[in-house]
Symmetry: C2
Subunit: 477 residues, 2 copies
Amino acid sequence: MPEDKLTPRNEDFSEWYNQIVQRAELADYAPVRGCMVVRPYGWALWENIQQALDRRFKATGHVNAAFPLFIPMSFLEKEKEHVEGFSPELAIVTIGGGEKLEEPLVVRPTSETIIGYMYSKWIKSYRDLPVLINQWGNVVRWELRTRLFLRTLEFYWQEGHTAHASEEEARAETLRMLDVYADFAINEAAVPVIKGIKSQTEKFAGASMSISIEAMMGDTRALQAGTSHFLGQNFAKAFNIQYLDPSNELKWVWTTSWGLSTRFIGAIIMTHGDDQGLILPPRLAPLQIVLIPIYKNDAERNAVMTVVERISGELSAFRLKVDDRTEVTPGFKFNDWEMRGVPLRIEIGPKDVEKGTVAVARRDKPGKEGRAFLPQLNLAGSVERLLSEIQDSLLQQATHFRDSHIFDPKDYAELTEVVQNGWAFSWWCEADACEAKVKEETKATIRCIPFDQPEASGQCIVCGKAAKRKVYFAKAY
Amino acid sequence: MPEDKLTPRNEDFSEWYNQIVQRAELADYAPVRGCMVVRPYGWALWENIQQALDRRFKATGHVNAAFPLFIPMSFLEKEKEHVEGFSPELAIVTIGGGEKLEEPLVVRPTSETIIGYMYSKWIKSYRDLPVLINQWGNVVRWELRTRLFLRTLEFYWQEGHTAHASEEEARAETLRMLDVYADFAINEAAVPVIKGIKSQTEKFAGASMSISIEAMMGDTRALQAGTSHFLGQNFAKAFNIQYLDPSNELKWVWTTSWGLSTRFIGAIIMTHGDDQGLILPPRLAPLQIVLIPIYKNDAERNAVMTVVERISGELSAFRLKVDDRTEVTPGFKFNDWEMRGVPLRIEIGPKDVEKGTVAVARRDKPGKEGRAFLPQLNLAGSVERLLSEIQDSLLQQATHFRDSHIFDPKDYAELTEVVQNGWAFSWWCEADACEAKVKEETKATIRCIPFDQPEASGQCIVCGKAAKRKVYFAKAY
């Protein structure tokens, strides 16, 4: 197989993924085990994700701030479940300025503790509440098995941390931010997601309740694409975050946290990509259009480039690149931009100049179906419509793929089969033992207890006991 | 002195600075020595700085990426001057995932080494050049004496790292990016800066030449506000960054790096602030306008709020906040927003409703001079002009202050006097010994050898020997 062909998805999905990340120049391996370099094309995608989310955070009243990278080890120990969950994954600074530190510093794996400490300084009265702060930054978790974007020692994310006067308000915030994530995933990334509650064994270390958005990748495995945690008063009590209420009584606050990371780039790749490479949703793509001039000689070149320049000017509202490299063929360029997932290719050759047309090719529909000639007249409008169609079509395709791989197995034996190539949507009695049995015997876990539940009850798919809610069982990233 | 009055600048400039940072809620001390928390108001200012710079980076052909936080210790040792310069300031991770690491990891103090390593992987041919990458991120330097924003263990910055085929091109890039910084400082932050070359003793560890923008603070001390380094082939050779030129010969690249950090927030505070608090330049201010309704009873309130809502709608192109808190008086609000440096205050009371006017107060001109009544009609236009006047006036005031504190001492004795309350612009023979003598005897250092030089030559202010260039001597932050 020549170096320029990707390993097909159905042959080795994992290898296909690794190749795409490297060849589309999204990321590269760093010299430190498990760390990544996010290359300019990948970072431009992340910047677009950041903007789409940040806009939503600000529209819901949140502000950004920056808390320190280093957390005293003793802070983590203040919340029992939290320290148990994160201890095995810590990177620890023991030397600073040439001297051994008295107290080792943890490189933050998440910031509940240090932010809790600061909130206890800042929050005095009910008038100071709610505090609605988000942080964009890097965190470190010492993972053993790593994959670019999906699981790296250092990764980039946002973490929101809010404090509220009442439980009700904190619970509403937890839900609101999951809605923000779902809206972003569906409407910006064209990644259909299911919202639901994590089981007790899968929840965040230190949370009272975790909820998540779950997406199905192209190999049918599930990926947790964003989480929101109701932390109850766990961190309020650990860090003594108290306020005076209107009747001058001292109360603990209620807190939440929620995060979405560069892992989401993995979700985009594995939801939309095909055997030619990446396919990016137009709303997030660093480049929405690539414009390729086609010519054989200088005379043709002059005529074509005049039109190319005019049209690239007319399309300046889009993220567009003219690929006028002379050292490679148009065919090479087609493959190159297909690999990088640019949603729309426009070709302009001598015949197009004559006829006042352009040739367009949609990345989401390879082959004839995605090709057309369009008049140069009012091209901006046509392109706008096309990009919007591509965005919609990606969401439809992904939703169709997901829904056709969700099964309702009639019994446990069938469950063990369907989770090999799909998700099982099944009744569960909510006993840890049944959850553990499925995990042990099939490697599938409970991805979530979805908010959307049938108006009925049934029998646990594992033990047959009465069950009130259905859950998704799936193998996960 | 009541808690709400700042220590005056001429009484204790340093204490005035610390108070402003805390009371304007720009930043707070973190529980780890020397680390800071950038609070939402401070971070919003940093976000505006980021946007103003990022726009300029992209307009000059740069792209963003993200390189790892952790650097193997051995990487730093590959460039002799670099490791000597940075060794005393390193934070070192020795434990990961519960185990002692075979090779300790440095938390990046700057990224020349790890980026050099990646460039050696990516750059193969002259077609791959130039590489023009910038990174927004956090770095750690284990400083002993720290001040919020000015010098903290962890700080936020951007670091540009570029690689070029020729020395000429790399030198041009070094200059271009300093021009970008100067343009940003002058036209966005209203901070007048002087561009020049650092002396050999003051240059970046590992650079062939460092150039900087230098600003004068309100206590006349100098602050290095941004630097750009021509790294020659030092890092190219240390990390083996080579390319094949068009005639297929293997050559070393030439590299540059350049950075501007959250320290710049300190420059803004100390350039413009007064005894009432912060004064922010309108182009960077998180809030450009605060709108304060004035009323005594519900009837007045209703009339006033109707106008306030209409006007805040008309001014939606500006960053505006309506302060309709009922638990504090208008006087409290005036002081509060003056402390936070909001450039323009608009008050609307019952008489304004009657007369169709608003009362405005400029933050840069306290007292009557900065107050006026404006018609509500076409208020957006008037406000636009006022903000632009404030921006210009801040730059003029700062330039005037700086120029009236730059002296041309007639001899060394006078130099030792003028650097106690200003800068000396003097001839220097370029000998390290003369530079060292000034530093030892006055604590003033050579801030830069400015690009702007008189068309003449003279005698070194220290030793009397022939000198070709004048330099700025000043005490510095």
